[in-house]
């Protein structure tokens, strides 16, 4: 049986990689994918605790997190397309003001 702390360590490592990616990357789509990675890293924690404590609530949380991630993907990609249409670039440094 794999210890619980290994799953927590894996989740922490993935979350850190995702957070570093959001800070490092300048491409809006790449930042978006790093955010998806962070959401997934928390899901590992939820499922690990749910499986170790024999309580299904954590997995229901994961279900709802996935729904929120899907909604975020739809709206986020819509925003990215709108930004690209206005500025013809996906660099977030070019999109530093909200008005067009």
């Amino acid at each position: 049986m794999v210890p619980l702390s290994w799953y927590l360590a894996l989740s922490a490592v993935l979350f850190t990689i995702g957070a570093a990616g959001v800070i490092i990357k300048r491409n809006a789509i790449a930042m978006f994918m790093c955010i998806e990675l962070m959401l997934n890293a928390t899901n590992i924690t939820f499922v690990a605790f749910s499986s170790f404590f024999r309580d299904v609530t954590g997995q229901l949380f994961v279900f709802i997190v996935m729904t929120v991630a899907a909604a975020e993907a739809a709206v986020g990609l819509g925003i990215i397309i709108a930004i690209f249409r206005n500025r013809l670039s996906l660099d977030v440094d070019d999109a530093s003001v909200l008005r067009d």
Binding site: L4, E36, A70, A73, A74, L90
Partner: protein, 189 residues
């Protein structure tokens, strides 16, 4: 045996995640992210959560990543250009803070590892099977589930509103410009 499988899947997941961040071409990052999601699905299987593993493959690796790849192809994204680090003198401070952060995380993980909690014996539990997830979702957590459907509806409407071509606004601007031009012409005459 389980530990070996876990280590393999964890190595796949972390390797793909690092490749995703290190990659400059967004399309290659997207493919690496699909690898991360597949590795995570395997990890969910080792945690005895087959429903979540299936949802992971279907929703993330299937739906969301198809959407992302579609947008990357649609916008014809170019590779990122390499730029110098602007705050080079802050790098030692950053390394120090990262070391403190990692020490804290390692302490917490060590604390969890040596805590006195004994998990219940590994009986034949049905936690994680589709039936138990469905039962929880439609009895105790019915209201959050319904709110989730509302959220999806709002996301659909929001995405359509955002990605729509703002034809009325553009049309209004060109019309305004045309009237201004005719007015200036008439005044010049």
């Amino acid at each position: 045996m389980t530990i070996l499988i876990f280590l393999l899947l964890a190595a796949l997941t972390i390797g793909c995640a690092v490749a995703m961040v290190a990659q400059r071409n967004p399309l290659y990052s997207a493919i690496a992210l699909i690898g991360v999601f597949l590795g995570m699905a395997g990890i969910y299987v080792t945690l005895a959560a087959p429903f979540i593993a299936a949802i992971q493959v279907i929703v993330y690796a299937g739906a969301i990543m198809v959407l992302v790849v579609f947008v990357i192809m649609l916008l014809n994204v170019e590779e990122e250009v390499r730029r110098p680090i602007r705050l080079r003198r802050l790098v030692p401070l950053g390394v120090l803070l990262a070391a403190i952060f990692f020490a804290e995380a390692a302490f917490i993980i060590y604390f969890v590892e040596t805590s006195a909690y004994n998990p219940p014996p590994a009986t034949q539990s049905n936690v994680g099977l589709t039936a138990s997830v469905g039962t929880g979702l439609f009895t105790k957590y019915l209201l959050p589930f319904e709110i989730t459907s509302l959220l999806i509806l709002m996301a659909i409407v929001g995405a359509i509103t955002l990605a729509r071509r703002v034809s009325t606004l553009e049309g209004g601007r060109t019309r305004l410009r045309a009237t201004e031009e005719t007015r200036s012409q008439t005044s010049a005459d």
